[in-house]
Symmetry: C2
Subunit: 238 residues, 2 copies
């Protein structure tokens, strides 16, 4: 049980690219952000730019701790110290929601182990918005992260995910490093059944947002989407 004297670890979503923050974050988030003195983030420059956009009062006085996928447990534990002294901390992702496809999950895990209260705030997640917009099975879906890079392994994994869709009636979503979007898309067209539905969701919540769902047979008849290194979520279902 959380004792009253420990602080709260707030999970602070950030925008998915350059946009007016009032498009993607509730007013409450700004109130919480501006009440905090301690932040855990992936990148100091991005974190300060975000705080500035939130009209954070004195950015130079914000205490930032930086994490990445190599941060070890001792380091993360030291970042949580202010919580044990009753201070609240805001955990931010690089883009989107902390704890979803980002290294924040390790911090959250430790917080639970220490009995610290974790409060997630509402915000944009390209994965979640893609799941909503897909029209696939909202009662059963999986996000499986990245596909293997190697071509044969990638094709094998795509087949496996297609089988999971059919066998478990579970829609499958995944992402790719943006410069590889084109090659993943090609592999999907080559590997999937003509009737399998493919979602391609690009630059979600940004001005050039594009969300398209079509069977593979229809995707094959048109020019491929203009990925040009834009963050993209892929999803498949039957």
């Amino acid at each position: 049980m959380t004792t009253q004297s420990t602080g709260i670890l707030y999970l602070l979503p950030v925008s998915l690219g350059e946009c007016d923050l009032t498009r993607v974050l509730p007013k409450y988030n700004f109130e919480i952000i501006n009440s905090l003195s301690y932040f855990i983030a992936e990148n100091a420059k991005d974190c300060r730019a975000f705080l500035k956009q939130c009209s954070y009062p004195e950015i130079s006085r914000a205490e930032l701790s930086l994490i990445n996928q190599h941060s070890n447990k001792d380091e993360l534990l030291s970042y949580l110290q202010p919580l044990l002294k009753g201070e609240n901390i805001g955990l931010m992702s690089d883009a989107g929601c902390p704890g979803i496809a980002d290294p924040g999950a390790d911090v959250i895990k430790l917080a639970h182990q220490k009995g610290i209260k974790v409060v997630p705030l509402v915000g944009p997640s390209s994965i979640v918005l893609s799941i909503m917009a897909s029209g696939f099975n909202g009662q059963n879906f999986a996000f499986v992260g990245y596909l293997p890079i190697e071509k044969i392994e990638k094709a094998k994994r795509i087949k496996e995910l297609e089988q999971l869709c059919v066998k478990n009636k579970q829609a499958q979503f995944f992402i790719e490093t943006p410069y590889r979007n084109g090659s993943v898309f090609e592999e999907l067209l080559k590997t999937l059944q003509p009737t399998t539905q493919l979602l391609v969701a690009t630059h979600i919540t940004l001005d050039d947002e594009s969300i398209e769902v079509k069977p593979i047979s229809a995707w094959k008849k048109i020019s491929p989407p203009n990925f040009s290194k834009k963050p993209t979520v892929f999803g498949i279902y039957f």
Copy 2:
């Protein structure tokens, strides 16, 4: 491809219970909601109450179409007619995000088939906020809906989900009809390994929000959570 003359199907999240909407919805959502004349929702009374809370100008003039899990394709197609005439429509869930664990997915699917632009707006989803707050594997997770009601089937499914956690390194999330939360919780304690981590997230975003993650062995040592018919998300990981 979407032609310029068709409208947009906006996916409008709603709050997860009684709360100040500025806690969970961005300002942009209110702008969109107040610009719409057509809505698709599960319940007319809830929909109108929500519009009122959004300061929607003339609620009596809002055109509502109602859906449930038995709505057939022809009915849903007729609801989409205004889109084909260039009008925008807002699709709402009962609680949370349309398309996630609600009947809205069928409407969205049809919209894609008709080449209609689908735009998901940011808002609260108890499932997504639970995934964020779990600290489990944010790179690989599944939401699998409801567990079987029958006791032996339920235990079997719980075992199966625990095995998926370990085998695929995939965190598993599920929900239950609120009055069954207590019996699912009991079955989880009975069936899962002592070291398996269990998330219990209740009344997310509401004033009595509670999010706890503990190994089964620790849950067994304390009194069960006070579910009292509160909507709850469960999650497991190792």
